[in-house]
């Protein structure tokens, strides 16, 4: 890049931030960028005491009695945690509830009161280009409980996009604020100091797990909908409209076209008909099937939603109660497309748990490892495989070329092998299209 171009780019990136702040800065510092700097500082100053160093990641306190949010993938391995707060205090926390599919966990600091906390903002009001601040413990540079304890890190950027669907992040906020391994579970904040979302994923390339300017956060509004369930304890489930089928091969962006309604199902009882064009769910427009599914699954099971469909050129409103989201075909297919490695098998859910190898391609990594059709894969790497979703979730972590142990049931026999995944064909195209994404 030439010198003037680089300068222009830097100024643009920074200046883009300044735009949004200008209006509030009248009478303040002489330069808009100084006002923005003040705003970033003040957000960081206020949020820092509410920051939580937990395990290999981050968290943020959302109530004065010590409830805090993090990613489920951060808090997965233990019910109880010793954590450090942004102000240096070390406390014990207990997991209240978890949303494994949405990758959110709610924990509670024991014996806490009067703590600094961050209010949940309205993530539906976020606009691309809006400045945001991320706080986290990237690469554990601030330490956790060991001898070298430092501060959390602040990075600034803008909202790159909203309502992104990224695997199980069904309504993700995309940001270019630097988010790296260790930022997981930390807050993404607006310049008002409100929680926009919980940082959870980064798009990476070639297995290089560092920021690429594409980070994803779980939006505050989705989290707010799950909070009552999380507070009650146990596991939260996402919602779906059971018995409803929408067209997936459709380019028009005017709605989600209903192609099937199972009679007697919740969808049937709600009054959906084949040919309905679903244009809105709750307050969210649904121009595509993907966005439709994203919106619906950003609500918990049991939620009552009103859905607007266009039917014979008129709008009709339908009320529907969401059922528990199952591992749907589309989700699995979506996931499968984002994985850089493959074993060269076609899998299906095994009724007894695990996945059955429907087909093992000749010369594939699975074949080379001695796996056969009809084997039931129950363990891959260090994880139990309960079904196709878990299979792909596990495979997502595998690096092509690195051998991993696999365990299959072959009749009454248990067979353990080492299998070496190969790079998935067309993976390069996927990278161009949006990159692999991984939790960090």
């Amino acid at each position: 890049m030439s010198e003037p171009k680089r300068r222009a780019w830097s100024a643009y990136r920074a200046g883009g931030l300044a735009v949004c702040l200008f209006i509030g800065s009248a009478g303040g510092p002489a330069f808009a960028e100084d006002a923005l700097q003040e705003a970033i500082r003040s957000v960081a100053d206020r949020a820092m005491p509410a920051f939580v160093f937990i395990g290999g990641g981050s968290g943020v306190i959302i109530s004065p009695d010590g409830e805090f949010l993090t990613n489920q993938h951060v808090a997965l391995s233990s019910e109880r945690w010793e954590v450090r707060l942004g102000d240096g205090r070390v406390m014990t926390a207990r997991r209240l509830g978890a949303d494994p599919y949405g990758d959110v966990a709610l924990l509670k600091l024991e014996g806490a009161e009067g703590l600094p906390w961050v209010p949940l903002g309205d993530s539906d009001a976020l606009k691309p280009g809006q400045p945001v601040v991320a706080i986290g413990n990237p690469f554990a540079l601030g330490g956790v409980l060991g001898a070298q304890r430092g501060d959390a890190a602040v990075s600034a950027g803008v909202i790159s996009a909203v309502h992104r669907r990224q695997g199980a992040y069904m309504d993700a906020i995309q940001t270019d604020a630097a988010i790296n391994p260790g930022n997981s579970g930390g807050p993404l904040l607006t310049l008002r100091g409100e929680l926009a979302g919980i940082n959870g994923r980064i798009a990476t390339r070639f297995g290089n797990r560092v920021n690429s300017g594409v980070g994803f956060a779980i939006p505050a509004n989705q989290i707010r909908r799950f909070l009552p369930v999380l507070r009650r304890g146990g596991t939260a489930y996402h919602g779906m409209i059971d018995g409803l089928q929408v067209a997936r091969q459709r380019n028009a962006a005017d709605g989600a076209l209903v192609t099937g309604v199972r009679p007697g199902s919740p969808a049937g009882r709600a009054g959906f008909r084949v040919g309905d064009l679903i244009v809105r769910v709750d307050r969210y427009p649904t121009p595509t099937w993907s966005r439709f599914e994203g919106v619906v699954s950003s609500f918990p099971e049991g939620a009552d939603l009103d859905v607007v469909v266009v039917r014979e050129k008129a709008e009709a409103r339908l009320d529907v109660r969401l059922s528990r989201l199952r591992n749907r075909e589309s989700e699995i297919r979506f996931l499968a497309r984002t994985i850089p490695a493959e074993l060269g098998v076609r899998v299906d859910d095994a009724p007894t748990g695990g996945v059955v190898l429907v087909e093992v391609s000749e010369g594939s990594p699975a074949a080379a490892a001695g796996l056969r059709a009809d084997d039931i894969l129950v363990r891959l790497g260090d994880r139990r495989v309960a079904g196709r979703l878990e299979y792909f979730l596990v495979l997502r972590w595998m690096r092509p070329g690195e051998a991993v142990p696999a365990e299959v049931q072959r009749g009454a026999e248990t067979v353990r092998v080492l299998v070496t995944p190969r790079p998935r064909e067309e993976a390069a195209e996927e990278v161009e299209a949006g990159g692999e994404t991984g939790e960090e």
Binding site: A11, G57, R80, A178
Partner: protein
Amino acid sequence: MTRSAVLAVLMASAAPVHAQLAADLAAFESRIATAVDRIAPSVVAIAIEREASREGGVRPPTGLLPSQADEWLRILLYRLPTRVRVSGVIASREGHVLTSYAPLRGEIRRLSVCLADGTERKAELVGFDQRRDLALLRSELVDAVVPEFAPDLPKVGDWVVAVGRVPDPARPTATAGIVSARKRMRGAAVQIDAELNYGNAGGAVVDLEGRLLGVACNITERAQWGQNSGVGFAVTWDRVEDLLPRLKEGLKSAVPPQPYIGVRPAEGALDVKGAAIDEVIPDGPAARAGLRDGDLVVRVEDQPIRGWDDLVRAIRGRKVGDRVRITVDRMGEQKTFRVEIGQMDHE
């Protein structure tokens, strides 16, 4: 309302705001440009020719090739002689140039300072401090321009501009960001989110007035944060000021090899008995031995590991190159790996 009427209303309401925004943006742009202009005469490129070594080698992207081929390619690259360019900041009118020490490790064949007019001047290594990742070179420079230091130390949230001279010594590069955290690298550096690439190593990090806040450092291909991650470091000017006289006198302070196995902890998990690993650093000793994210270290040789502190002590108590048996609990199964203890090349 007609379309033109709508447009007229919009323009009427938006125009003053837009004009003010444009003015603000132009002011910000010119402020960054001026900052770059001010520091640019004090930033040079440095060419390093070095014997190939594991330290100096270029790390190819991982995961593209089967692991064996990956390793061969890596070995091949390590053996090739390497020539890299990084940046430097002029430190005296006598031709002293500050840069990052990391790219200078290993056996150096030739060092030179590359000037904006395309000429190269031979340089020599005068002194270094590995812990603060600073090195001082000296070269025959005419009209060397010493930068102005910032009046205050950088604070979290401050704007910063990183200025380097790579790939083209004739043109400075600029990336903007903010100060992310203070007191990194044992208090010697600040963390910034401006994107830093390898060529930025040793370059200037300045405020919006073009005054030196620090020297970009700790950018290596082997650092886990890697390039461009939005996690970068600059040794602050106060440390530079402290060290400069000693570096000029020839201080050569190397850090004793720090044993490490390349794992990032998940500390504080109270329901697990052992040292839980959040992430195994790709390409590190533990990764090469077969440890994985999520493993729980329960024993090193015959010594039980109850928590992260135990593991740190067990590793630090050994020497680089030692082989140790590390036993992990992986989903209820115990597995033992032989890990060759490596050397940490950053803190």
